[in-house]
Amino acid sequence: MSNIQIWQGPNGINLPASAKEAKEIMPLAAYLSEKQKKQIVSAFQVEAYDMAAEYAWKKAMVKLKETIATLGLRFIGEMLNRDDIDEYTPIDSVLTDYSAIQLAEQLGVIGNTAALKLRHCNELITHYFSKNAEEELDYNTAFSIVKSSVQYILGESDISIALEFSQFRQRLLNESLRTDDDQVDQIVNSPLFYLRTVMTILLASIKNDIGAKLEHAIANLNLLISPVWKKLGENDKWNIGTAYRDVTAAGNTIAASGLKTALLKVGGFDYVPENLRSITFIKAAQQVLETHFAFNNFYNEPAAISKLANLGSTIPSPALIECMQAYLAVYLGNSYGVSNSAAPIAYRQLSNISEERWNYYFEKVIQNDEVILPKMNDGQVNRFRTFLMENNFVNFSGLPKKNQQLYDAILAYNPRKAKLVAVDLFEAIKQ
């Protein structure tokens, strides 16, 4: 068995392929009331395209976030690596649209295609509604946003967490699985995308549960860790090491003992952070990414990235991946360009990262970098190349095959190939 998807989100309702107007698709928005549907159609009729798109998008995002919240906010906090989120946190105030789409895909609320299209809608919305947007939202863009909102979210009267995911999560926390269990085989052969979620479910339980649930989570982690360790990404490994450090610091000796045994099995103690300094860096880097994917990103990025840069240029190892990802995201920008004030700061910080760490990034990290892999349009590849050339990071060899192809394509300014390889790598995370 290989690359089996343990759960799979739906890819939306069928819309008439020839639909070109709101009035053709709005009747299918089962989640909306008749009045709400009419309001969107009317907005199109009076050419208030931005109002129509924003209204539909907001409704879709609220629904998506409500659905995600049914899993419990503490679990959501664990999925996002955010300890500031607990059961009492209003989900709307902590979950950006970008994170909501990412989580919905992970939890099987929506499928891969849906996630891809909704991410694109999010980029359009954040661009057109940003302070410095120069053009107005046109009919076609507005229609595509409304269409995707209806097709993937508003078309269902009640979207939900994938049943397979819920059942699977229940099994992970309520049973100690055995090696001869088919589902263990499924997990072990799953793409990284699913393994990440499995690890997050187990770590969340180990950190927060007690009694039988905790015992099951520890047993299942110890069962799964050896066969999946090599497939896990570097930051997934750091997450396990950090969890071990957290529960030890908290005096939770049952959890600490379970995680220690698991790390011993795979020789994973190199991934235990020495101190909490890295957490400050990781939080600041997460903030940069949240800003990057939210409204007015070009305007807000300078403050967020300065905060990260001011923590110092000696980035602790456990935070390296998040920091490089954040700096690269800002430096490479999005389809609409870069933040003119933030990008030079990102460039300086990226230049301060040693050649050895860049080699590590291209060897072990980039293939699993869900943020940077989609940033391979012409302009972005050119910026990446310029950075590598100006800093003389041009001699990396012996990388894994696809990583090497991507690195070489960037250096050679071959955006078409860079994009193709990046798409391959991105899909390999999920399929």
């Binding site: 007690i210 450090r245 030890t248 610091a249 908290a250 005096g251 939770n252 190199d270 020495e274 101190n275």
Partner: protein, 349 residues
């Protein structure tokens, strides 16, 4: 001429250390054996300019072992292996081995490296002892460990991953030692604490009391039921000739919950501050009283005698007080440590 036969405590202990090293698969050369003996001897009654010190020592064959414990290391010296260098290690490091820093010694072939290590992250993080040879021990590949700590006057514990050796460096009758008294006491103190965080509170009390005991001249701790009626009866009826009942109990369950949920430096410092107070209270003369919900309600309580017919009185005032605690009928659990390290625990079943 009569035949001379030499009976030496040193030889007997060296043999025990040799057996320990063999069981733990440790480097068994004579220098290491003698070096450990010297450490046991020094640690059993260590003073620096008149002040007693209670350094703990971890000996290992590889510092890689520390990877398995989130820690901070401070290497002080590296030299050729010799018995004198073991002694130097203690002399140089002992004054610095305070506030949960302990001495480490790496013995690798004919080299010795030493310094200090701390695994202190928060007030609730387990002690290095617990993380290495206690409940969090693991069999780290190709690694051997010997942990040395003082248990009382002239009594030292040498623990590895498989064996635990208590060495008495005097000729008195050996006391009873087990490894579970503190664990048992912490279980009693946290019996009614919130289940979700009980393990964490347990770890906190185990470490805090252990630290207090190290520096104390003998201690008494009593655990009572956490309900207002029991506490008011205790305050009214327990006959004491001195002591303090706190107007507001120190609620460690609340402090630890606060520190856990906020995870900020202010709540952590708050917990640390109150932890230092309870350690000082435990080391004051008399009984420290804690409820079974982690609340400290009184200290320095010098109990009047509650002696029953037929009770056999042995030892000094603290032993009598311990017996009175059991007889008075107010306590669920009583803990006693004598000046020479003897530990007893009693639970009202």
């Amino acid at each position: 001429m009569q035949e001379i036969k030499h009976s030496s405590l040193r030889e007997a202990i060296l043999t025990s250390i040799g057996e320990f090293l063999y069981d733990e698969d440790f480097q068994k050369d004579p220098i290491t054996k003698e070096g450990i003996l010297e450490i046991l001897n020094l640690i059993s009654d260590y003073h620096e300019e008149g002040h007693p010190l209670f350094p703990e020592v971890l000996i290992t064959n590889s510092l890689d072992f520390f990877k398995s414990i989130p820690n901070k290391e401070l290497v002080l010296n590296e030299a050729d292996l010799s018995v004198d260098e073991f002694k130097n290690a203690i002399k140089l490091c002992a004054p610095l081995a305070i506030n949960n820093w302990i001495i480490f010694i790496e013995v690798k072939a004919n080299k010795i490296k030493y310094g200090l290590v701390s695994a202190e992250m928060t007030e609730t993080s387990p002690s290095i002892y617990n993380q290495t040879v206690g409940k969090l021990k693991i069999d780290f590949p190709n690694t051997t460990i010997a942990f040395i700590k003082n248990l009382g006057q002239k009594t030292v514990e040498l623990s590895g991953l498989k064996k635990r050796l208590v060495v008495s460096l005097n000729l008195e009758k050996p006391k009873e030692y087990s490894s579970n008294e503190l664990n048992f006491l912490s279980d009693c103190i946290t019996e009614k604490c919130d289940e979700k965080i009980r393990v964490n509170i347990n770890t906190f009390f185990e470490k805090a009391i252990d630290e207090a005991l190290k520096a104390g001249h003998g201690n008494l701790i009593g655990v009572v039921e956490d309900d207002e009626e029991t506490i008011s009866i205790l305050k009214e009826k327990l006959k004491v000739n001195s002591g303090i009942y706190l107007p507001n109990a120190i609620d460690f369950e609340a402090l630890i919950m606060d520190s856990e949920s906020n995870k900020d430096s202010e709540s952590s410092i708050n917990l640390k501050a109150y932890a230092s107070i309870i350690k000082a209270m435990i080391n004051h003369d008399g009984i420290t009283i804690v409820t079974n919900k982690g609340r400290v309600i009184g200290y320095h309580l010098l109990i009047d005698p509650y002696i029953k017919d037929g009770d056999i009185l042995r030892g000094g005032a603290r032993s009598k007080a311990y017996l009175s605690m059991q007889n008075c009928g107010h306590f669920k659990c009583c803990f006693y440590k004598s000046q020479d390290g003897n530990i007893k625990i009693w639970k009202n079943e």
